[in-house]
């Protein structure tokens, strides 16, 4: 993973609530056995009509979306299926941050495991972001702060462990492998108790 400390970007806004991972990556793209080539699958049925034509009214197809790294979405983003393909697809599409007022548990865990920062913000901030697509925001991972163009500077919750992984660009598996002694000890204890 690439270390992620801070970024400035305009936002792309999807106002819909309860955007599920079937919308983010439809199941027909899940027969892959690797993590590649999913950028095209991101929101495929929102970005393209049934004839494969680009939907001009989809915010993800706007020119600005090509350079935007921040996706703002309606409440309860990423609900439904546990498919990590949803996170891979968003990263490959070009996003590094997702902001909503509520983010589903499994999606959030998957996001942080891959260096996609999923941020929950309060209702006022969320409403402002939904109303101002294309706003230029600053996301500071080190300070866990989101800065809006009107000067608001909002602290967001970020698990210290996930923050370290993001800043250093490392994943959790290395840390887990370092716990071998504790794991073996637990297994030994469980066997003795049985």
């Amino acid at each position: 993973m690439t270390p992620f400390k801070r970024l400035n970007s305009t936002t792309v806004v999807l106002t819909e609530r309860n955007i599920d991972t079937d919308q983010i990556v439809p199941a027909r793209f899940l027969t892959t056995t690797n993590r590649r080539g999913l950028g095209q699958a991101a929101f495929a049925d929102w970005r393209f009509d049934k004839h494969g034509q680009v939907r001009e009214d989809c915010p993800l197809n706007a020119r600005q979306a090509e350079t935007s790294e921040v996706l703002v979405a309606g409440e309860n983003f990423g609900c439904g299926s546990s498919r990590e393909h949803a996170v891979w697809a968003l990263l490959q599409f070009g996003f590094r941050v997702v902001i909503s007022s509520r983010i589903a548990d499994i999606f959030r865990a998957n996001a942080l495991r891959n260096g996609l920062l999923a941020i929950e913000v309060d209702a006022d901030t969320h409403a402002w972001l939904l109303d101002n697509p294309g706003a230029g925001v600053t996301v500071d991972v080190v300070q866990a702060r989101l800065r809006l163009p009107d000067g608001r500077d909002i602290e967001f919750e970020l698990d210290p462990f996930a923050r370290t992984c993001l800043i250093e660009g490392v994943d959790a598996l290395g840390y887990l492998l370092g716990q071998e002694q504790a794991i073996a000890g637990f297994e030994q204890g469980a066997r003795e108790a049985a």
């Binding site: 027969t31 049925d45 716990q179």
Partner: protein, 483 residues
Amino acid sequence: MSQTLFDKLWNAHIVRPETPDAPALIYVDLHLIHEVTSPQAFTELAERGLKVRRPDRTVATMDHSTPTWPADLQGQRRYASEQAWEQVRTLLDNCDEHGITVHDWDSPNRGIVHVMGPELGLSRPGMTIVCGDSHTSTHGAFGALAFGIGTSEVGHVLATQCLLQRKPGKMRVTVDGRLGAGVSAKDLVLHVIGRIGVDAGTGHVIEFAGSAIRALDMEGRMTVCNMAIEAGARAGLIAPDQTTVDWLRGRAHCPQGEDFEQAASQWLQLKTDPGAHFDREFRFDAEEVAPTITYGTHPGMVVGVDQAVPASIDAAGRRAMDYMQVTPGQSLLGRKVDVVFVGSCTNARLGDLRAAAEIMRGRQVADGVRMLVVPGSEQVRKAAEAEGLDQVFLAAGAQWREPGCSMCIAMNGDQVGPGQTAVSTSNRNFEGRQGPGSRTFLASPATAAACAVKGCITDPRHIDGPPEVRIHFPAPRQMEARQ
């Protein structure tokens, strides 16, 4: 201090307690894997030169990408694509390389992962169970802590048998009273999700309690816990009781004989202490639950099948109703149906098939309706065939398929066509879930079967015409929320 069932399960699996700087290290007793969410995890292991730490705690099945058509005379299966076949082959190769038991085409136990695990007695009270599949919450019906994970975490468990987790919050949904005739566990859980919302459980583990939950058989309990994720919950849980013990006795992977009785007496201790604290609580009365159906594009948009859908809606509701071609304020009864699907990890167990068959017996699938009945596992298929349920469905004009996820996730070629209306016993009615442009109405097996027979959305209690006396359901009581 009084503890909840979830506290007890959590505490018993802490390898390292959580600190401000690091989440808890939680031990996983059983890791179930399947072809869709595991290949990239095995690649990760290979790239780092790692082995599967506990192949003996890992069990694989193939269910999502697998065709449900029987093999042809040459033994060939009709995969939806080369890639789907490749994915299944990759699973078989990975299991072979790492010494993992896999229930493949030759296994008499192959099935949807959340049907197969319990059936084999792999899922037992007191365990931690994970799988790269959100409906892993199903196994919570046995008083196990069971939840879905992503592929990175599948890799973590393969490599270390552990997960890094912050402890979720605690929520309880109590349902007292008795379900009415023709009302099932599926109706109950749809009703609950409709009231509490699709994100009420986010960040929480839900314990289901109350006399209506205790009255459910294990299949019904699995249906309820299966749908806990549709309320956003990390997991669903039901305390083990004699129903649990009786269901598990004699299952292949359960202890046998005296060992079983000893285990069972421990399982029966697993329950929430009186006075234990929950962060959120909801209460419902089972008598208020009608046969319930969804009308929108998430499982919280529900209505009693004989009631009108809401008249006043917000923008999200409008978008959903536009997509579904549902008119605000109107009843769904009589809405033409193109496809009926009885299957999935929610409702493809023997009791579900019996409920559907009871409606189908001596009746025909209506003209213009395609009905698929897909048993949840080989064991379910054989048991259903032994009592002639397959013949009931076939005689009615339905298709009787081989086990798999099939049309629930629609990635194996079993699909609902664009613009078509499907009544499904599965768990998700998201836009395009059952195929691009598909419109899904979620319901119980009995309701789905009634819709197949009538060719339109139908109240299963009134399949032979309108009732002489309308059953009246009182207005829903305001739910009590104790914070």
